[in-house]
């Protein structure tokens, strides 16, 4: 009952804030990684280099799929913004369903920008189905395809260190985010611009994916406060010896 109540409350709050957001634009806190990414995307289009987006191995049938969906929202915006580039972005993923969705999203991005003829099926790739085969399939893209910036966003494990190392060796820019704790600690230690915790899910809002993404951030804030109140309340009740 609590679970379905939470889902309904969240959905209603999201719809309400999305509706209210239409009237007043959101004010987002500054996240350096996104600011730098915006600059790098512009530069990549100008100097004719490529953007590489790696969506990880998030299986859409598990809860890990949410990070992949966040990556797809970002991909959609990046595809629109780089559709006029001489070299279209390349997307790699470690899950077959995700790679099909990435092709679909790329095509939709080009269509929205009025450049559907620029779309190539080969730009949305399945790199490998196991963690290390995925890393092994992704590293050559960074190395051989004139890539100037990498966006590594989604579900990764420790293999993310190899991707970061490859980007570093080629002296390319890298923005990285994962929903996996061990990958987050690795990215914190090795990436230029790591996104920590729920910043991964803010990518859509920061890349201008729409009002619903901005509203999502506000709903997350409301829910976070509710969780804090619940944790503190639970601790106080426990201290008072009240069990529930």
């Amino acid at each position: 009952m609590l679970a379905i109540g939470l889902v309904l409350f969240t959905a209603l709050l999201l719809l309400a804030i999305t509706f209210l957001r239409r009237k007043s634009p959101a004010v987002l806190r500054r996240i350096e990684a996104f600011e730098r990414l915006n600059r790098v995307v512009g530069l990549a289009v100008e100097n004719g280099t490529r953007l590489h987006i790696s969506l990880g191995r998030g299986n859409l049938f598990t809860s890990r799929g949410a990070s992949a969906l966040a990556g797809l929202a970002m991909l959609r915006r990046l595809a629109e913004r780089t559709s006029m580039s001489d070299r279209p972005p390349i997307v790699t993923s470690g899950d077959a369903s995700l790679s099909i969705l990435s092709q679909d999203t790329l095509q939709a991005g080009y269509r929205a920008a009025g450049a559907e003829d620029q779309y190539r099926v080969s730009t949305g790739r399945l790199a490998g189905l196991t963690p290390f085969s995925y890393a092994a399939g992704t590293i050559p893209v960074t190395r051989d395809e004139m890539v100037s910036a990498n966006v590594v966003i989604g579900d990764f494990g420790s293999e993310s260190a190899l991707l970061v190392e490859a980007a570093d060796r080629e002296d390319t820019h890298l923005v990285a985010a994962s929903d996996n704790l061990s990958a987050q600690s690795i990215l914190y230690a090795s990436a230029q611009d790591p996104l920590i915790g729920e910043e991964l899910f803010a990518s859509g809002a920061y890349m201008g994916a729409g009002i619903s993404h901005e509203a999502s951030l506000q709903v997350q804030d409301v829910l976070r406060w509710l969780v804090i109140v619940a944790i503190l309340g639970g601790a106080i009740l426990k201290l008072l010896g009240i069990n529930f």
Binding site: V7, L14, Q107, D144, F201, A202
Partner: protein, 206 residues
């Protein structure tokens, strides 16, 4: 067509969700059926993905791109193992040899490279981002490694102090990890709801 795909996704998602919350017989049956269908679609997606992988590598070979020799090796290995699997079955010794003699050693080697990469990344971290958080991060990682290190003389700080220090450090680390996980869970919930109610539609060319 786009409205149709969105409607199918929304209705399917809602049925599966309700099936989890209300274990009514009809809903559970429907949920299982939809899950079975999605598993079949996922299996087909693997075939499509592999076809895409072969297509991309063949394209590289055809255009004589840099390092396309590795692409050729990949395609040949893929055809070879696929053919062997079809002819002899997955349990045949040759198939097991392909896994034990090729895939496992290659992945182990990558794991070894990973360990070196991580040590190198930690060393470079201070050069890249020299701030308080970086120092705390490295210091705690180092203390954890030293305290958990097996030595011939037992724990480094002695049984009591070693355990106590690990417990104190673990308390802060677990708290931080839970905070991150709560944030990720909230993000996951919102992303799921956006897709479930058709606000985000990463399918059907939307």
């Amino acid at each position: 067509m786009r409205v149709f795909t969105a409607a199918i996704a929304m209705v399917s998602g809602l049925i599966v969700l309700l099936g989890y919350f209300y274990p009514l017989d009809a809903l559970t049956q429907l949920r299982i059926m939809l899950t079975d269908w999605s598993i079949i679609i996922a299996a087909m997606a693997v075939l499509v993905g592999i076809a895409n992988l072969v297509f991309v590598q063949m394209d590289k070979i055809r255009r004589r791109e840099k390092n396309s020799i590795y692409g050729a090796l990949l395609v040949l290995s893929l055809i070879g193992t696929f053919g062997l699997g079809l002819v002899f079955g997955l349990d045949h010794q040759l198939m097991r040899l392909a896994v034990d003699a090729v895939i496992v050693p290659v992945e182990s080697s990558l794991m070894a490279i990973l360990a070196v990469t991580l040590v190198y990344a930690s060393i470079r971290l201070l050069r890249r981002r020299a701030d308080v958080m970086t120092v705390i991060f490295l210091l705690i990682a180092l203390i954890f490694l030293v305290l958990m290190m097996p030595t011939p003389f037992g724990p480094v700080l002695g049984d009591g102090l070693n355990g106590f220090t690990l417990q104190i450090l673990g308390m802060f680390s677990r708290g931080g990890a839970r905070g991150l996980l709560i944030g990720i869970a909230l993000g996951t919930l919102l992303t799921g709801i956006r897709v479930l109610f058709g606000i985000d539609r990463p399918y059907g060319g939307n």
